[in-house]
């Protein structure tokens, strides 16, 4: 073919002229755009958000906000959140020209119900009915905590997917969605999306999106630094020097947080860590700032609230007593606390009331450099109260197994993050997940935190029918978390991004936090719709 026809527009290394280059360090991709599979290229690179659209656009960094109507114009729940009624927007069309209808929405829910493999959020669908542009879905339990997961469901076209034999293995290589972009070309290295002619909203100004899978962080960082890559989410150590300094005017990095956090999970079954006093003391000496700076290269925000809620995302959930409270490092206080409770110091070593020295191993997979560096910070911190903590590594498998089976003293591990802090607390404290040591509990509560009150509060929160009861339960959860210290929060999981204003402006930012900037989120579409060419 003709040399030029192959080139997209100006075909330079970076975007510009209607092109935006996006990339993730997730390696080469297989030709699979199935939006319902987390393993697809479209999920891995995030471009499914440009092709398929959710019902409601929620904002992970501002969970208190009401979502924006998207494919659903309106939605309402019954009191106990077991029934959802959706009013589906009229007007959007599928990119093959077919009209988008409520039947597609009902079909998609039915699909999730029928195929457990696609139902990643384990939503207990019951009945799905559609009438005109109204879809009604009932659930077997209260879905208050799962609302966002349901809103975020990518809606797929019935006229195509009903022909599919097995949607669980459907590769969807010619994806048809309601979004403003369609798949133009697919190669394992780069996926190109091109703008549709019509869209139910104003057409975005970006004409073409180029998604690249870089093999690793280094490659992605290099591409970011030389401007080849305009939008990405990649961990960059020392990002000031390595990235921002290459073009201080245009290069930006914004790592706002959602509700998910990282922290030191403690095995509350093992002695002496079953003693809450010890855990409290440990919590008091952890230097989160050092972890933030050294372990996570300043990219992951510190969790300052003792409740483990990252701010500002968790602001609206904070119990009154913890409003404005910042977890301060207090070595003296910790020592005092310990001594008050029968602990003694022998030289530098801490002895339990029984006279045993307190030693522990901190374990994480070999190769997880940010966690391991953080662990060494923690180890130093704990040494200040006489706890001898050694940093150990294991293979990912070995670590996974011992975490699931409760075979560890303490480990850095993430938590689930959802639309409410419920996901985090449930992951850490749910007594329904409690297993004896040795039995795997892959769903959470790795620390074997045995607290019926916490479980009660969790269920209360999930099933409450009014906001007050919910707030009550949330406050209770925070109190238990703060007092019992089942896990020591360190930093928050950001939903961040690096982006360049060289060619495009209008990115979300600290000043204009209209959406999380991460290119693999649903909100990426919002971001793209908001972009404008830099030169006017």
């Amino acid at each position: 073919s003709d040399a030029n026809s192959n080139r997209n527009n100006n075909g330079g290394d970076s975007g510009g002229d209607g092109v935006l280059t996006v990339g993730m360090p997730n390696g080469p991709q297989a030709n699979n755009s199935n939006p319902l599979l987390e393993t697809s290229a479209s999920a891995s690179l995030g471009y499914r958000a440009m092709i398929y659209e959710p019902l409601v656009m929620t904002n992970g960094i501002a969970p208190e906000e009401e979502g924006k109507p998207w494919l659903a114009e309106q939605w309402s729940w019954n009191e106990d959140f077991t029934q959802l009624e959706l009013t589906v927007r009229e007007g959007p069309t599928w990119s093959d020209g077919e009209e988008f209808t409520a039947e597609d929405v009902a079909f998609t829910f039915q699909l999730l119900k029928d195929h457990a493999g696609l139902n990643a959020g384990a939503i207990p669908f019951e009945e799905i009915t559609q009438e005109g542009n109204t879809v009604t879905v009932t659930f077997s339990s209260s879905q208050f905590v799962n609302q966002v997961k349901i809103y975020q469901t990518y809606i797929v076209p019935e006229h195509i997917w009903s022909q599919v034999d097995n949607p669980e293995t459907y590769e969807d290589q010619e994806p048809i969605g309601t979004g403003p972009y369609t798949l133009k070309t697919f190669t394992p290295q780069t996926i190109t999306l091109t703008r549709r002619d019509e869209y139910w909203q104003d057409l975005p100004q970006v004409e073409e999106l180029r998604y690249t899978g870089y093999n690793d962080n280094n490659a992605a960082t290099t591409a970011l630094a030389n401007g080849e890559l305009e939008w990405s989410y990649v961990f960059i150590p020392n990002f000031e020097d390595v990235y921002l300094s290459h073009d201080p005017d245009n290069f930006n990095l914004w790592f706002p947080t959602g509700l998910g956090i990282h922290g030191l999970w403690i095995n509350t079954e093992r002695e002496p860590f079953d003693d809450v006093v010890l855990r409290q003391a440990m919590n008091m000496v952890i230097d989160r700032q050092a972890i933030h700076e050294q372990g996570h290269a300043g990219a992951f925000p510190v969790v300052e609230s003792p409740t483990g809620l990252p701010l500002p995302a968790g602001e609206s959930f904070l119990a009154p007593e913890y409003q404005g409270v910042v977890q301060e490092r207090d070595v003296e206080g910790a020592r005092a606390l310990l001594e008050e409770n029968g602990y003694t110091f022998e030289g530098d070593a801490l002895l339990t009331p029984e006279g045993e020295p307190v030693t522990m191993s901190l374990i994480d997979p070999a190769g997880w450099s940010d966690y391991l560096t953080s662990l060494s910070v923690i180890s130093d911190n704990l040494a200040e109260i006489g706890i001898e903590a050694s940093v150990e590594t294991a293979t990912v498998d070995g670590w996974r197994n011992s975490v699931d089976a409760g075979g560890f003293d303490a480990t850095l591990h993430w938590t689930n993050g959802g639309a409410t802090p419920y996901d985090t607390y449930q992951h850490v404290m749910d007594d329904a997940l409690l297993q004896p040591i040795g039995e795997a509990s892959p769903g959470g509560n790795f620390g074997r935190f045995d607290s019926p009150e916490a479980g009660e509060a969790l269920r209360e929160y999930a099933n409450a029918t009014d906001d007050e009861a919910r707030a009550e339960a949330m406050n209770e959860l925070q109190r238990i978390f703060v007092e019992q210290v089942p896990m020591i929060p360190t930093v928050a999981s950001p939903v961040g991004a690096e982006y360049s204003t060289q060619n495009w402006v209008g990115w979300p930012s600290e000043e204009d936090p209209y959406a999380p900037p991460q290119p693999t989120q649903r909100n990426a579409l919002e971001v793209v719709l908001n972009l404008e060419p830099a030169d006017g």
Binding site: I236, P237, N238, V242, Q294, G367, E392, T395
Partner: protein
């Protein structure tokens, strides 16, 4: 048959030695390459033994100087978290050498067992064992090591060494088998048999001593392979990176994008150490090669003379040549002075074609 040719080359090379091992025990050491190689290796061995005593800092301890370039305090600079890279390299030497040598010992023992047994047994046992080593030869080594290592419940230097050793014996076994085959029918082996020696004694006392140089090259080669594999495993984060070795240093450097941060000092020393160690081992191997195969030796005492196959130099009155008169008796003629350069045209040399 392609497989056999390489063997025959090795065999041919090794055949020339027959009596070399004892002819001059020190000759091996007098080889310049060997000497340089052994010195460097010796240096690293000393580091491996005393490295952690010499290290000025705890290699894992975070320090206040972050990402400092080399200075007197930190000869190789510091890391992201202020760890002293010099100490990491010093302490890490042991891991590198331990894995290299343990793996090589394992592989060599296996190679000798399998290769020599196959070669000596012949027949079905030989076929079975050499098929086994052929299979191990064609299976790509590093991927196999990565796969096995990644499944290990626990990785430390010894398990890594074991994996490397267990997967890399085949080459040695093959060469040894070929060698044994050629030795098996040597008269002195047959003679030992005819004297009434038992089979195991023949293998251990008659065959093995003659295989020593071959075993030695194989051993050194495996050390190189094991060191590189170990470092690679550490670098890609599959081995246990909490045990310091040069690969671990590189792993952390790469993970923290040291090069992007212009922290060359984080990368360069480890890389150079590996290259130096590799070079030293390679030099030792050249030494052994030249020891086995004297043809490879570059015996050029005198740089003014080019020795070429097929064109013997004529040196009259050359300083490197002992005066003939010293050896010759009364008859010793003074060599005729070189005739004036004749324009010996080829035409006069070539006979008229009369074919």
């Amino acid at each position: 048959m392609a497989l056999q040719a390489s063997e025959s080359a090795v065999v041919a090379a090794a055949d020339t030695d027959a009596s070399a091992p004892r002819r001059d025990k020190l000759r091996f050491l007098r080889n310049g390459k060997t000497l340089v190689g052994l010195s460097i290796l010796g240096f690293f061995v000393l580091l491996a033994i005393f490295g952690d005593m010499l290290a000025p800092y705890d290699p894992s301890a975070r320090g206040p100087n972050i990402m400092a370039s080399p200075s007197w305090d930190h000869p190789f600079g510091t890391t992201q978290t202020g760890q002293d890279i010099f100490s990491q390299i010093l302490v890490g030497t042991r891991g590198v050498l331990v894995v290299g040598f343990v793996a090589a010992v394992l592989a060599t023992v296996l190679g000798v067992l399998i290769g020599v047994t196959a070669g000596y047994l012949g027949g079905f046992g030989d076929d079975a064992l050499s098929s086994l080593s052929n299979i191990f030869l064609v299976i790509p080594g590093l991927p196999l090591i990565i796969i096995i290592t990644s499944f290990l419940p626990e990785t430390n230097d010894l398990t890594i060494a074991a994996v490397i050793g267990l997967t890399s014996w085949a080459w040695g076994a093959r060469v040894l088998r070929a060698q044994t085959l050629s030795l098996r029918n040597r008269d002195y082996v047959q003679a030992a048999r005819a004297t009434g020696e038992s089979t195991w004694r023949i293998i251990v006392f008659e065959l093995l001593p003659n295989l020593t140089p071959v075993i030695a090259t194989g051993f050194i080669g495996t050390v190189i392979f094991a060191v590189l594999s170990n470092i690679t495993l550490a670098f890609i984060g599959i081995a246990d990176i909490s045990e310091w070795n040069w690969g671990t240093v590189l792993f952390w450097a790469q993970n923290n994008q040291a090069l992007a941060q212009d922290a060359w000092w984080w990368f360069v020393p480890a890389g150079l150490c590996i290259a130096l160690l590799g070079t030293s081992l390679a030099l030792i191997n050249y030494g052994i090669d030249e020891f086995i195969n004297p043809r490879l030796r570059n015996e050029k005492a005198d740089r003014t003379v080019t020795m070429r196959v097929g064109f013997t130099p004529v040196l009259r009155d050359h300083p490197g040549v002992p005066a003939n008169a010293a050896n010759a008796g009364p008859l010793a003629k003074v060599p005729a002075p070189a005739p004036p350069p004749r324009s010996a045209p080829q035409g006069t040399i070539r006979k008229d074609d009369q074919a």
